[in-house]
Assembly symmetry: C2
Homo-oligomer: 222 residues x 2
Amino acid sequence: MRRLIHLPLSPFCRKIRLVLEEKGLDYRLVTEKVWLRRPQFLAVNPAGTVPVFIDDDGTRVCDSLAIGEYLEERYADPPLMPVTAADKAEVRRLVYWFDLKFHQEVTANLLYEKVNKRLMGTGTPDSQAIRAGLDNIKYHLEYIGWLVDRRNWLAGEAMTLADLAAAAHLSTLDYIGNVPWDRFPPARDWYQRLKSRKSFRPLLADAVPGIPPPAHYADLDF
Amino acid sequence: MRRLIHLPLSPFCRKIRLVLEEKGLDYRLVTEKVWLRRPQFLAVNPAGTVPVFIDDDGTRVCDSLAIGEYLEERYADPPLMPVTAADKAEVRRLVYWFDLKFHQEVTANLLYEKVNKRLMGTGTPDSQAIRAGLDNIKYHLEYIGWLVDRRNWLAGEAMTLADLAAAAHLSTLDYIGNVPWDRFPPARDWYQRLKSRKSFRPLLADAVPGIPPPAHYADLDF
């Protein structure tokens, strides 16, 4: 059985869960509290991060970007990447946009300050970081709106890994009630399309002990 | 003519220059002072980062990770990626290791503190960051040595994008004399093999005005 070593509120793990669900692959989730830095886990992934994916033939893949590419190559159908090198480059540009830039400017400032510090016992939230995150998210929601105003999905006419990467980040921030959907209707409409997909259901069923999501989190008509 | 919009000491740009050289592709370098945030450049790449690659058919690719994948797909020969999905995953894991982890733990603490702040006029180097960078680099050089002790190159028997990504970072730190090669002979031997390649020559000829490299920088027998 395939395994995904993960954390429920990690946007990178959520992206891979969405990919696995979209591709209809069976897998088992294994939680790893990465902050404990267990030697057994560091032997699996010296970077000490999740997700780590173990395929049914034992192939082990570390890093969500590498896992995304691996799954696309190994399980091509249904595709989450377009066909030409240039179109793929646009998908990848946006995956990195969300996994690197959005992550640094928004996810780290909000989710990590509010949730990770609490889970890991590494101090209290930094209010300046939270303000920055709440400010930065607006510009990214604007950008999503700008993209879907010109295209059906973020990277083009078909849904791709770029949409899943972006939605994975936003889903974690939605879990802590930090996405101002009302002020960004085009981004909300795009997210609603994703949230309504079958692949999204496991994410909407997540419940982290001690950190209940807001009422609208699992609501498809938010 | 292909163009690479770049900065001479950006490790991400250097990685792509190495790829272009290894693949024997002609291209022209165009320097972009990204910190000026010129509107014309932001229209080309809204992330405001270099490298940006413009292919001979006008295809524009932003983000060094996306450019690396694009070039591999569009100009497959000679290959810088292995054949199987699992082997590619190991190359990608290491590319991300250097472009994300090493970058954050070492390059940002040393190069950005010492050089970028000066070029951009954004203050004086933070001595605490520099100390952290000098400390962190040891553990990465150790890891390189550990890998090449088990494999011919970082990701396996053939030289790949992983070696170029790692060498690109180290070449920028070598430019500012911050790599303790003497204490890590296996990493030094590996770097020497890369530095001796024809693809490396343009990097060794770089000279940033006001920031001369140390004497050993271009020396193949360092």
